[in-house]
Amino acid sequence: MKWNCLFALTAYLFLFAGEAVAVERVLVFDDVKKTDLQANFQSDCVATQPPSNFQKLQRVPTKSNAFFLYFDPSLIEPARFGKFFDYTFYVAVAGSNPPVWYSCGTQVYTQGAFLDRSETAHFTIKVGGAIDDGALDIPLHSIASRDFIEITSVTKPAKVDLSQSTGIELSLHNLLPDQDLLVEPSIQATASHPGYWVSTNNVKLEDAVSKEIIRIPPGESSLVRLRLEPNKIPTLLATLGSVKPDAAHENITAVVSYRSDLGGVSRTKPVNIVVRFTPSLVSLIVALLAGSLLGTLAAQFLPGTWKGFYAMGQRAARGIVFSFVAELFAMLLVALGSKFVFLQFDLDPWQFLPVLFIGFAISGGKEVLSYMGLMKQQNATAENA
């Protein structure tokens, strides 16, 4: 108790002698030296009043409880011009009455190929003739250009459903060992075909939990949706050009802005997303019906086929039913990971043109396909095999 009073008296004498803004070396941190990380600290302390929220701050006593070091990690910020980080610590002399406090602005310089993480830092406090030391865990940040995040689309290529406008589902993975990542919902999007989208401005990432900052715990992944609304007609037309199940319709470059929690520097991560549009169910039904009717009609033009409207109607109805059955089988096979190969064509039963073709081929029958040379080709291939 006597020692504490002596500390307090000594500190007050210093305080009054040097005025409130006199800068003192009250707090000294040892350098942190690891294989991939080096950090050094430069603290300058000024006498101050206890901060109003000091009870909420992280408190670390020195070894012999002569002092307390108070720390608010949420006040860490990168220096304006970028080379170091500003931390604020408070030193309190234990048991002093009136209270003796110092505010210690600390510049922390880090080097090394490390990802932002916490490390134990040893410190020494000296007020007047009294010295004591201790240690605390503090978050350390890097200014180097390394990625702290991995971004992948959940499906490859990323599926964009033209009927629901649900956006593109992305997985964001935090690579940091012990710090949260804060991802800005606003992103910068560039499309190779801007006409496919209603707008590529003000594009946002949406998290199931929050529409504000997306917080990802260390080592974990978060599923988010990239809200991009497709223009239905141009995108439906885009699907006509590709038949293969994994072909790309569009490429999007999205730049995501993020930072590590507790004062990390702002970073950006560009990611290229390959997009494949999926037409709506209504479009597929229309394609199947149109294909089926076209096939039936084509068959009627073949020599010796015409048997009147009633027979054509019957054939059309049969064609539609079989087309639907074939389409359902195709969808089931593809959904189970298999392929739907028809007349040597690897077809995607979720795309407009392949569905039109399924309807046409099933309803037209082998007469139409033979007339077009498709069946012959297949027979010839089978014979050669």
Binding site: V21, V23, Q42, D44, V46, P78, A79, R80, F81, G82, K83, F84, G105, Q107, Y109, I143, A144, S145, S186, I187, Q188, V255, S257, V265, S266, R267, T268
Partner: protein, 279 residues
């Protein structure tokens, strides 16, 4: 009823203050006859009329930009405003018209984000805190490489920079060691002209280029230097009491504008009184 109204007014005032604090000004600039520009934490810029402080326009945030510094300059009879910062881990300076329309972008070397403009020779001086090198970038040649002007060997982390066009010098503050350097931009020679400046975060220069203001973030002080016999000498230090002083710029009628990341103020050099204003 009165109590309810008073309560609502107090709540609204508290909300507006809180909103201001989360996106307060970190940089500002003004020159005679021009607007007052405030760079906010989120990277947007408020353009104010200097006397009434009425907001005239807002330059929106540039995606991914971590803002650092703002300067306004008159080039070929037109006012421009320049904003620097980091995009990812790369430095850049963006040029806007006085009305806030994007005009040009200049990539800076080695994460340089502090800068000033030489309007006569149309050069952008930037300083890298990583290498402590001062560079010049030609404003008229987009994409041209930055030309090395000087390397300040003794500096730890150079921060704010300001150009003295009368003497053809740039003043550079070392944010880590609290030293102010004067660099001759024609020869590249430099010398320290002041020490014990705490952590210089921002520099302002008077309209006659005879007074220099240095904001010390560490102690919340404004150091005032006056040019005497060809050299700057410290003549005064003003305690602002602001805990996170972030910017200083010369103002009209013996005042300076200052900002602390939460609010903007006009500081009278005569009375040393701070007057807060809305932005």
């Amino acid at each position: 009823m009165k109590r309810i109204v008073r309560g609502v007014v107090i709540a609204l005032a508290a909300l507006s203050l809180a909103a201001g604090a989360t996106n307060g000004p970190i940089g500002l600039d003004w020159h005679q006859g021009g607007y007052l520009y405030l760079l906010l934490k989120n990277g947007s810029v408020s353009i104010l009329e200097e006397t009434t402080k009425q907001r005239l326009a807002t330059i929106p945030t540039t995606f991914g930009l971590e803002p650092a510094e703002i300067f306004s300059a008159r080039l070929k009879e037109r006012d421009y405003v320049f904003v620097s910062g980091f995009v990812g881990r790369n430095g850049a300076v963006y040029q806007y018209t006085a009305e806030g329309k994007p005009y040009a972008k200049f990539a800076t070397p080695e994460q340089a984000a502090s800068f000033d403009v030489d309007p006569e020779r149309r050069l952008l001086y930037v300083a890298s805190p990583v290498t402590n090198v001062v560079y010049a970038i030609n404003l008229d040649q987009k994409g041209s490489a930055a030309k090395r002007v000087a390397y300040i060997r003794e500096a730890e982390a150079v921060g704010p920079i300001i150009f003295d066009r009368v003497r053809n010098r740039v003043m550079v503050g070392d944010a880590a060691r609290g030293v102010l350097y004067e660099v001759d931009v024609t020869t590249g020679s430099y010398r320290p002209i002041a020490t014990d400046l705490g952590s210089p975060i921002s520099l302002g220069i008077g309209p006659q280029f005879k007074t220099l203001y240095i904001a010390d973030r560490l102690a919340g002080r404004i150091h005032i230097f006056r040019l005497e016999n060809g050299a700057y000498k410290r003549i005064d230090t003003i305690e602002t009491g602001l805990r996170s002083l972030s910017a200083v710029a010369t103002g009209p009628s013996e005042t300076v504008f200052v900002a602390d990341g939460s609010n903007a103020y006009q500081l009278s050099l005569k009375t040393r009184k701070l007057t807060r204003f809305a932005y």
